[in-house]
Symmetry: C2
Subunit: 190 residues, 2 copies
């Protein structure tokens, strides 16, 4: 069992509606020792892929992406949500549908920071319906770069997102793939 899985069991809480709260160590308060372990674990999963850049979406993905990028010795780029004037107009964009909120939002990455010779690893905190990663894939395709994989901290394997990404040809790997959390009892895959 890796550090994230252990932390989820000790400090995560399950709320009604299959909501896993990880606010105390990942999404609101951040445990830096855990981040470091997660960065190392993601590196081990993707180190053979000659990654040149880590791509994530603001805000919760940023810290995890940085501690992963440290091992690859590459920069992080984070897609901005909503229409940000200050990104400039020369951007790749994608629409992302949020099942939680029932609305779409736009993500944008400046064309300056994604190039055809880039080999990209996507890092994100949660995978449920997979729409954010599919949006990032569209952006990577538009840039002509290569999507080498998606490293997800916590995957709700009982929701459809993971299958969507695998069907889209993405090499998805998760640090904590949750098979079920009935009655607050979290069961990891493997």
């Amino acid at each position: 069992m890796n550090s994230l899985q252990k932390k989820i069991l000790t400090d995560g809480t399950v709320l009604p509606g299959n909501i896993l709260k990880v606010d105390s160590f990942l999404n609101h308060q951040i445990d830096i020792g855990l981040l470091k372990d997660m960065g190392k674990d993601f590196y081990e999963l993707f180190k053979s892929k000659n990654i040149t850049k880590i791509l994530t979406v603001e805000a919760s993905g940023i810290a995890i992406a940085c501690y992963t990028a440290e091992h690859f010795k590459v920069p992080v780029v984070f897609a901005k949500k909503g229409r940000h004037k200050n990104v400039g107009s020369d951007v790749f964009t994608a629409e992302v549908f949020s099942f939680t909120k029932g609305t779409s939002y736009e993500i944008a990455v400046s064309k300056l920071y994604l190039k055809p010779d880039d080999r990209i690893l996507i890092i994100d905190d949660f995978l449920a319906n997979g729409q954010a990663v599919l949006g990032l894939q569209k952006i990577i395709n538009e840039a002509g770069a290569v999507l080498c994989g998606a490293g997800i901290a916590i995957t709700k394997a009982f929701q459809p997102g993971e299958k969507f990404l695998l069907d889209a040809g993405i090499d998805v790997k998760s640090l904590a793939a949750i098979e079920s959390m009935e009655n607050g009892n979290i069961v990891f895959r493997d």
Copy 2:
């Protein structure tokens, strides 16, 4: 001259209207080596203050806060922008007026992660009008915690924010305090 100041001179660009673009290394693409240096520099500035927690605002502040927290061996808490249902209802909030956008937004921190015995260091990427830090100060006061200082990456010292914070009794220290950037020529204080 520290790493951030050097990077601003080599890779920053000044746009009309006194806008400093640091997208290529801090606010959109992130240079991890630079972050590490900045974290060390912030630690040196505040290491005598017995900090127990780093507080920042999503999104650009998060990575800088994490690399600073690493040295203090304390957690990061990032305030969420807007009304986030998933933070829960038991939150400290503050309204922050954005001079750039001409509107206010709300920042929120769960009461679980700020306690009266906390000694807080605020970390943020930019200081111009100081409203975000004043909002965080209000939240820290409501929590009954102690605000020990504010570490700012880039301060536009020709705008009023720094004086607002000093007048509010906050120990503000900046890695790069910019006195002027007329005609694209960046001049640091000191």
